[in-house]
């Protein structure tokens, strides 16, 4: 049987008899399922493609035995570890081999989510109604009345009743094949062997996810002889966990799993990221000296729909395209959907040191709360521009700042597009500050709208209207 290692070197370094015997207790169902799995892998000729994910539980050491690619997963996470393997190499055949504690308790979320995704992997679920490795505690599949180390008086209603995983998995849309089998007599073992091979064939053919639940024997913790355990599985487990096919859509599901190798073509990556290969146009003569500093800061503030963030980005981008450094930090109020929204922008001749703008040179306010909050922070000699359509009474503003009221909203409404009020505002900002020539901003608009050229005339008009509306300062 070539799918088993010829020597179990990983079992206590293969010393003595351990080199050829399992770590399982006498009569344990795991060994039988291992044999069936090994035979199925061999029958399908997939040994070289197989990645077996060992779980946590008694079968944690499944990798001692199978001469396939092996990985050992954290408790309950085997199916998602398997998914990682499958997506890395779509050609691989991935088997997630798990016990009841692993699959139906700690890993329930991973189990269900992976099944529902339905990508072609094979899950072999060993249900022996008890925790093996930790020493015989209550499993999610323990039967009512079953005495375990953590249900010494028997499982009762306070612990809930056993979970039927095959039924649960079968009612999801993802899986194409779900069957529950057992090992308690020769007939069941033959059926189990067939089910395992079928589940693997479905994966090999790229038809989807398959799940085989195996009712298995844990003589040690049931404190019964292997023979009596077989009987217990047959007589006590099968009424709760009925055997048979719970779902089989394998025949009508066409092979669909077909993934190409990832692309590493540089043009493709850069194209998707929107990298420009043409140098940006430059229109400014240099860094705006009239602010008498090498780092100019801005606050653009409004409510969610005002477009303050977009205007801020356009401002930063204009500076960067002119060859300077710039940053933009968006900030949303706690009620981030539709609440307050403000942006800190810096433009620097060489490098923006601190991107925060607690005392901006320029404030662009789209609503009254923003004006009230931020106007006092504008530094002396700075500029305040506000939407005079919305803010009819600006109240008392700090002295020593140049203040402009521009009807952003009014102009945008005249243009039939209230959403361009931020572009109107940007035009106003240009005219009020002479930061860069208007053409610099126009170039930015052309760049960002290069895939939406139809919107360009409207935006240009909005910008120009904002510029023209800047009259003499209010104060």
């Amino acid at each position: 049987m070539s799918v088993f290692y010829e020597k179990f070197d990983r079992h206590s370094h293969g010393e003595g008899l351990k080199g050829h015997s399992t770590h399982y207790c006498p009569g344990c169902g795991h060994g039988i399922v291992h044999r069936e799995l090994a035979e199925s892998i061999e029958a399908l000729g997939i040994q070289d493609r197989t990645v077996l994910v060992s779980p946590v539980g008694c079968s944690v050491f499944a990798y001692y035995y199978f001469d396939v690619g092996n990985t050992q997963a954290p408790h309950g996470r085997a199916p998602v570890v398997g998914l990682g393997h499958k997506l890395a190499n779509p050609e691989s055949i991935v088997i997630s081999y798990q016990g009841d504690g692993d699959l139906a308790s700690i890993g329930l979320a991973e189990t269900i989510a992976t099944a529902q995704m339905g990508l072609p992997i094979t899950v072999i679920f060993i249900n022996n109604a008890i925790y093996g490795m930790t020493g015989g505690q209550l499993a999610p599949t323990s039967l009512m009345g079953q005495k375990t180390a953590t249900s010494p008086d028997g499982r009762n209603q306070n612990m809930g009743s056993p979970i039927r995983m095959a039924e649960l998995i079968a009612q999801l849309d993802g899986p194409v094949y779900v069957e529950r089998v057992a090992l308690f007599d020769p007939k069941q073992r033959i059926k189990a062997r067939k089910a395992i091979e079928k589940a693997l064939r479905i994966q090999k053919e790229g038809r989807g996810y398959a799940f085989v639940e195996v009712l298995a024997e844990c003589p040690t913790h049931l404190k019964k002889s292997p023979e009596d355990t077989e009987k217990w599985v047959k007589e006590c487990m099968t009424p709760i966990f009925p055997l048979g096919v719970l779902k089989d859509k394998s025949a009508e599901t066409e092979p669909w799993w077909d993934r190409k190798a990832p692309s590493f073509a540089p043009e493709k990556v850069l194209g998707l990221m929107g990298v420009d290969t043409e140098p940006a146009e430059r229109h400014a003569k240099g860094f705006p000296d009239h602010f008498k500093c090498v780092d100019i800061s801005f606050k653009l503030a409004g409510s969610g729909g005002d477009g303050a963030q977009t205007a801020a980005l356009l401002l930063a981008r204009t500076a960067i395209d002119e060859g300077f450094d710039a940053t933009h930090i968006p900030s949303y109020g706690p009620e981030s959907r539709g609440g307050t929204s403000y942006a800190d922008v810096h433009l620097a001749k060489d490098e923006v040191l601190n991107p925060a703008a607690p005392d901006p040179h320029v404030l662009l306010a789209f609503n009254a709360p923003s004006l009230t909050k931020f106007a006092p922070q504008v530094r002396e000699g700075g500029v305040i521009i506000y939407d005079s359509t919305i803010i009819t009474d600006p109240g008392v503003l700090p002295a020593g700042r140049t203040v402009y009221g521009v009807p952003f909203t009014g102009i945008a409404t005249q243009l039939q597009r209230p959403m361009v009020k931020n572009i109107v505002a940007l035009g106003a900002l240009q005219a009020a500050t002479h930061l860069f020539p208007a053409e610099s901003f126009m170039a930015t608009l052309r760049t960002v709208l290069k895939d939406k050229a139809a919107l360009l005339p409207l935006n240009e008009a909005a910008f120009a209207a904002g510029q023209n509306a800047v009259g003499s300062p209010v104060s």
């Binding site: 010829e6 050829h20 006498p26 009569g27 990682g84 997506l87 979320a109 007599d185 710039a326 991107p355």
Partner: protein
């Protein structure tokens, strides 16, 4: 076509490999197998007896046997005595000496592909990090939405399908990190974007990745905590990233970018380091940096990843490999820990830092991430007021770049620790000083919590006010 009974192989059994479970007895329709009566000296178990006179070779007993080298069909003649008993032969003759039939895998090297000259981009931090990952050859991203990191994942979800890569929105952060465990176990570069509460959930998986020596990049855009906290920037996961990466003896290189450009550069670098050391690498960003837009220049090349020799790829060449963090015997696990410790030690060579106006500085500000930028602004303000201030910015938080700090110390009268955490960076610095046998200068802490970053004016005021502990 059915093989006649006379030609079907009969079973044989090495008694040493029989555990005496008796499952084969019921399986045999011909009653060829009976309960044994003698304890086997080698195993202390009682193997069954076989009398194959009536055996028809149906193999039902073989199918019932849980032991791979228990009951097996005879391949060719097997020397037996009249009762079908065997002597234990040397397993080398019986089974072959080797563990796997797979060949020894060779590493397939990665390739650097030249990039066409692109113009500087205007990108937010999370996007820059995503681009850095793409240029590092990452085509597999696993994530769970959490503010303020999600935009990185959103960008990947848009771009990766077009590059025939994969973005999977996992059922939880726990699942996401374990998808990374799988994908990385297959030898490919992969990553996730998360934020503090999600990062907490990933710690189990990170410990397993470190134990199993798996690469992978985790971008933690830190937000306010503890608990659900808020979505504003904080730096209070530094302790978790430097000292608390899940259970056991764990460490990972922690990179702390301060600009969108560094989000790209360090994300790219993270993959290189991660594969170099077969260990996860953490990008510690803060909420501001994740959202901050700035200028980002592109590197000259893009990496096309190879396939490491240790990968469990799912092909013949890599069949002999195992990804695993279990070492059952104590000496084995100790040896594994010693190996990991040597690796952590080697990682110290990767320590990175940046300095700003430290030449003659006697007041040294120390900060990382966005607070380092507020501190940089403060250095200018302080200099304008005649104070010889400078900034030391660790880029690796673990390992702490103590060698970079050391030469500055003789002239430094005071350290000013600027951070959005209650001294977690300061603790790293103190530990590093102490391990290096260096005296710690007086420290003035400038700390904010709960999603508020220390502002330039506060830093300046704290320095002017003086006072240290």
């Amino acid at each position: 076509m059915a093989i006649p009974a006379s030609q079907r192989p009969k079973p044989f059994l090495e008694p040493e490999y029989c555990k005496g479970c008796l499952r084969c007895i019921d399986a045999c329709p011909k009653e060829c197998i009976t309960e044994g009566d003698a304890i086997n000296a080698a195993t202390g178990l009682v193997p069954v007896n076989l009398n194959l006179d009536n055996c028809n070779g149906c193999q039902l007993c073989v199918q019932a046997c849980p032991e791979p080298y228990g009951l097996r069909p005879q391949a060719g003649p097997v020397a037996t005595d009249a009762h079908g008993d065997f002597d234990l032969e040397d397993p080398k003759n019986l089974f072959g000496a080797k563990e796997t039939g797979a060949p020894v895998a060779k590493a397939q090297p990665s390739e650097e592909i030249p990039l066409p000259l692109g113009q500087p981009m205007v990108l937010k931090g999370t996007y820059a990090s995503a681009l850095g990952a793409l240029l590092a050859g990452c085509r597999h991203v696993f994530g769970y939405p959490i503010t303020p990191s999600t935009e990185g994942a959103e960008l990947m979800a848009k771009v990766l399908p077009k590059l025939d890569g994969a973005f999977v929105q996992a059922v939880s952060e726990v699942a996401a990190i374990n998808m990374m465990y799988g994908c990385s176990g297959a030898g490919l570069p992969c990553m996730t974007f998360t934020s503090s509460p999600g990062f907490s959930l990933m710690l189990e998986g990170i410990s397993y990745m470190i134990g199993a020596e798996l690469p992978g990049v985790i971008v933690n855009v830190m937000r306010g905590g503890p608990g659900l906290g808020n979505i504003a920037p904080e730096q209070a996961d530094l302790k978790l990233m430097t000292r608390g990466l899940g259970h056991g003896n764990t460490h990972a290189i922690v990179l702390a970018p301060a600009t969108p450009q560094e989000m790209l550069d360090l994300s790219r670098k993270a993959f290189e380091l991660s594969f170099k050391y077969r260990n996860p690498v953490i990008i510690a960003a803060d909420g501001y940096l994740g959202q901050m837009t700035g200028v980002v220049k592109l590197p000259a090349t893009m990496t096309k990843p190879g396939l490491p020799e240790w990968a469990v790829w799912g092909d013949r060449e890599h069949r002999g490999n195992l990804i695993c963090s279990i070492f059952l015997s104590e000496p084995d696990l100790e040896a594994h820990n010693v190996k990991l410790l040597a690796k952590y030690d080697a990682m110290k060579a990767e320590a990175m830092f940046d300095t700003y106006r430290t030449g003659d500085a006697d007041v040294l500000l120390v900060a990382c991430n966005t607070p380092a930028r507020m501190a940089k602004g403060a250095v200018e303000d302080l200099r304008a007021q005649g104070i010889k201030a400078g900034l030391f910015r660790p880029i690796t938080i673990w390992p702490f770049p103590i060698e970079g700090l050391k030469p500055l110390l003789p002239q430094v009268k005071r350290l000013v620790m600027v951070e959005a955490s209650p001294g977690q960076l300061e603790d790293e610095l103190r530990l590093a000083l102490s391990h290096a046998g260096l005296a710690c200068p007086p420290i003035t802490p400038v700390q904010r919590y709960g999603g508020i970053l220390p502002q330039q004016t506060e830093i300046v005021a704290a320095v002017l006010k003086g006072g240290a502990r």
